[in-house]
Subunit: 192 residues, 2 copies
DNA sequence: CTAAATTTGTACCGATTGGTCTAATTGGTC
DNA sequence: GACCAATTAGACCAATCGGTACAAATTTAG
């Protein structure tokens, strides 16, 4: 049967709260209230706020990797897949009213140099996504759609960190203008 | 003669503390202690923590713009200036042990969608820098060194937001590897 | 059915948060 | 020297911070 609460639901709630507000703005009590659990349960499952956040990042890292893999199953050419992928991410941020960006980008910027465990978790999630994206880019290089001037991994990192950079602009301008502009320029870049 | 403390020094202290730790991690007391001033003086000069941070961003925005303008006074071709500029920024971050990145990037990501005044200040600082960088890029386009495939402003924004994106990676990997990689790819991009 | 183990719920902890208040002091101007 | 405004100093505030303690409730194992 299991008990009343379970880790996965708390982590899911934590993901939403942390993605929107960042690490230091959010208190444990806010997560408890949002998830509807008492403090005793939280500290039964998690050692500390930092340990909790590490697990939030890890769970999101895994589920987002699965999502990316599924996205790339669609019947399109590698270049078309990459374009559809990043266009879709921009759309998601627009629907979110430019409120959050990516949890890993937010955690990396805010806590990456402050807490080793959060840095490690953020880095591992990022790298696991890059693996998948680089895989598709490699296919595009083999078919001649994508430039061979740089390795597939370099191109994947260039694209994904480039998008992260636009999140800062997106949040202060509350607009997708810079993301669209980045998209056009970046896609031109990888086409060679 | 003036009184014991002055706004500029407090703002300067605030810049260092906020750049390293972000907005929500830092308490007023930490800034007071670091700047060596009592709370009464702080709230004599500033209405609130948010008002203080706005002024920190504004003062840094102005002084950094002056610094960029001076940097571009050096006797080099526009393309060489752009390269020297971004290489220098990477060097600065290495000397800082990858601890901080850029205040405006940090504030934009952490607070851009949370506080209107901080978003406005961050945006204005960023745009004032882009103006100067785009000016040099324009000269490079006129002399044929830099691609005309995109406008000078678009290229400047692409470069600067791209660098911001690598700050997230820099902070979690504590390395300049990604910044160097970004530099090589971006400079190839603007050369056309 | 009982005993052990786990989870739940809440009261509580010292420390810190952003901010207020007021009295004393300082500086510039008649 | 007198006067007033600005500055300085720090005690104080309620609210919240991350975390602990522990008893009660519940589930699982034998």
């Amino acid at each position: 049967m299991g008990y009343k609460h379970n880790k996965e639901n708390i982590l899911e709630t934590g993901y939403h709260v942390l993605r929107k507000n960042g690490y230091h703005k959010v208190g444990i009590n806010e997560i408890l209230k949002e998830a509807g659990i008492p403090k005793g349960s939280f500290y039964n499952f998690f050692e500390s706020k930092e340990d909790f956040t590490v697990q939030v990042i890890q769970q999101y890292g895994r589920s987002n990797r699965r999502w990316i893999e599924e996205f790339f199953q669609q019947e399109m050419s590698p270049l078309a897949l990459i374009k559809a992928f990043y266009k879709h991410l921009i759309d998601i941020n627009e629907q979110d009213d430019y409120a959050s960006g990516c949890l890993v980008n937010a955690m990396s910027n805010e806590t990456g140099r402050l807490y080793d465990k959060l840095a490690k978790a953020s880095n591992e999630s990022f790298e696991s996504w890059i693996e998948v994206i680089a895989g598709i880019i490699k296919k595009g290089q083999d078919s001649g759609e994508i430039t061979k001037e740089h390795t597939a991994k370099e191109l994947a990192e260039f694209l994904h960190t480039g998008m992260y950079g636009t999140f800062a602009r997106m949040k202060v301008t509350r607009s997708r203008q810079f993301m669209d502009q980045w998209f056009d320029m970046s896609m031109k870049f990888i086409e060679g």
